[in-house]
Symmetry: C2
Subunit: 480 residues, 2 copies
Amino acid sequence: RSGNKASRCYPLPPRCKPDNKVLAEDLKTPDNHVVRDPRLIRLTGIHPFNVEAPLSELFDEGFLTSKDLHYVRNHGLVPKVEDTEIMDWEYTIEGEVENPIRMNLEQLIKDYEQITYPVTLVCAGNRRKEQNVVRKTKGFSWGPAGLSTALWTGVVIGDLLKAARPKRGAKYVCFEGADRLPNGYYGTSIKLNWAMDPNRGVVVAHKMNGEMLAPDHGKPLRIIIPGQIGGRSVKWLKKIIVTREPSDNWYHIYDNRVLPTMISPEMSADLPDTWKDERHAIYDLNTNSATCYPAHDEKLPLGQGLKSYKARGYAYAGGGRRITRVEITLNKGKTWLLANISYPEDEYRLAPEGEELFGGRLDMSWRESCFCWCFWDLDIPVSQLQESDDIMVRAMDDAMMVQPRDMYWSVLGMMNNPWFRVVIHKEGHTLRFEHPTQPALMPGGWMERVKKAGGNLSNGYWGEKLSGEDAATVEEEPAK
Amino acid sequence: RSGNKASRCYPLPPRCKPDNKVLAEDLKTPDNHVVRDPRLIRLTGIHPFNVEAPLSELFDEGFLTSKDLHYVRNHGLVPKVEDTEIMDWEYTIEGEVENPIRMNLEQLIKDYEQITYPVTLVCAGNRRKEQNVVRKTKGFSWGPAGLSTALWTGVVIGDLLKAARPKRGAKYVCFEGADRLPNGYYGTSIKLNWAMDPNRGVVVAHKMNGEMLAPDHGKPLRIIIPGQIGGRSVKWLKKIIVTREPSDNWYHIYDNRVLPTMISPEMSADLPDTWKDERHAIYDLNTNSATCYPAHDEKLPLGQGLKSYKARGYAYAGGGRRITRVEITLNKGKTWLLANISYPEDEYRLAPEGEELFGGRLDMSWRESCFCWCFWDLDIPVSQLQESDDIMVRAMDDAMMVQPRDMYWSVLGMMNNPWFRVVIHKEGHTLRFEHPTQPALMPGGWMERVKKAGGNLSNGYWGEKLSGEDAATVEEEPAK
């Protein structure tokens, strides 16, 4: 997957499937113009399109994800833009600026310096299914594949904002897309400070993995905000509005927030000030990790001379922070093993000076922040797996924060990041592995299983029965 | 504690005790010239001077700490500098720079813009005593008062580095003090990137709370690095050295690191590459909190009509991040209550334009990062306290990372930040509160008590006996 020059030894995108087309189920929806990959798992029925790839397929693609398998989070229909209209796509930079700007994509490409670099986008709902099993949230059930990495090409937003000249007192930048929804166009905001900071790398992007954006990924223009949740990276970009206050867009206030854990769905219906409290808005990703191999339902035959098994997975942190260690426990946190970490993102930092990729400058040598996932692996002796009930993984970031044992449940079900637990079943001469959940309504996973059996899913128990606990007393979620 | 103008409504420093003098115990040490406050608790015998204030006295001083009660971390003797020599104090900016600089303090004050702002310094060892009770580390026993806040006046280091013009390829800034120690002068480094970033606010400081630095705090010149552990803020500054690699100073490598938890003190003796791995070096503070009231051994009389008790404490995060919520549990994490948070640091942001304080510009309106501790409080019904075994507190930062239930033990005992637990004892018509530990070798606290009684201090147990566990089988740490 390396390029043609000896020095270009950074990852390039995996090939896309040439034969994808509009799928039968999309024909009856407003998205009947959008080509999609049938492997993607639909999380909210047929429409709107919210999907993740099967975890193993995502992992097997490697550091970069093809557009075929890149996760998608759409709130409604996909705006239709013909290829011939792309260069005429107009957007504005307005609000608290001295020099409001209206330009089209052609001007953006012609008049501004283009850059290219890899960014891992992560949905704030990644791993939400685990929360939904413990207690139903208002969000749909992402598995642990709600993240993907691509090479994005575009213009650093600081260059555009400097041209628009923010006024004194301006503190926020709002983004608005072309996707008209029940509560208005999708929109959100970030701090102007961040947008102006080159280390944060916010980009107005028009290419993904060297191609124009696919309709599901914002064709023809979108924001990319590294290190923050995907919900801030507005697609089908129409407006950049500099403001003194955070966005008052419905989706900025009522989505992508972690309300305090004691607020129940019922209470949340009548707490407008709590929703509006910017302290509850999610920007930076939190530190997270998951195990990809062993996969769910993977079987490891015993007694065939295999001495060790290489467990593998991913980890990421937010705000440009780096994962500094990944640790594995085989005894529920009593002791830990240190995994190996690889950071393919670092390979781009070594690109030769002046390197160009997909029409953008690949200039990452000066930047120390981390915008992408990393991979971990650990050879575990099979004899130890045989003696263990489970494999759990946790990551630590360079701010010395560790993934917690505990789930932080909240109304919207966001930012779920407790230790990721894979159960080991001994079945005759085989070990069978079981992930916590399967995405969407797909059955499977130890969490649903132990919940049905009346086990205790509270923090720190992982489904063990409490002494004296009667399985019959565990309440089932009422069916709706 | 407000100033004399109506608009100056930010905290000013508490008064110092006028009658402090050189203490008898210091007369026989090389620090026989240093005036100190007798209330400070010595953590490493008489010398070197490593102290924290009694937690209640620290908290009672409010947002800013007087120099009398500010914690001190000295590795050896305090360099002696006469008042008359201060302005002649020379330091250099050297290494990978186009324009090496040697200047004295007089020039630093005369030739560069002076700024003043509040910064909370925190020792990486804050709360280490709790770790030492679980398993002895190589570090001495800080209680939860290893932090203090002061107004620092000096020059933003970016201004100085710009004048010195770092060469291409330079990536780090090393600092070296005048304190000669068994392994050379104390020194460490941070990233050049951070030093050049105005949002990070690194300062070369010569005043603390409006006075020249006290000998224990770096007289006459030191570094102040907001949001990072105190160990990077080198005192008695002599050299700023721009480099391509991190500092190779002994103290940079063998202090202020969190080695992976599975590395025992014995193993660590023979792992030079592990020590040198920069991923283990601590820079940003991690998110932490503690309860100050109820204080250790505080008694709450019952049946006198008191309906509720106001619990109070502090919290902080690292790297400029903000504490966005503080939560209290009275049932070991099953449910949580939301505490109130106050951020006195915000009051400085509202200072009028052009405001000067102690000869420095107080210009914080543009900065959104948080460099200081905040305070939390919560009114808890006394009836609930009566029914609870303990009060535990945890904080969340704006990167949505929460303090963990689990302690991360490591060889040096650093960055301890699990939920802070205060035990509630019911004694007749009184509730008595018990903190986890007392600093240094001071006896007291539930952790030592339950350890002696054979209780289980492993993560998630807080001293409860395991079913079937025999107290007699718990091993005592062998006496040395």
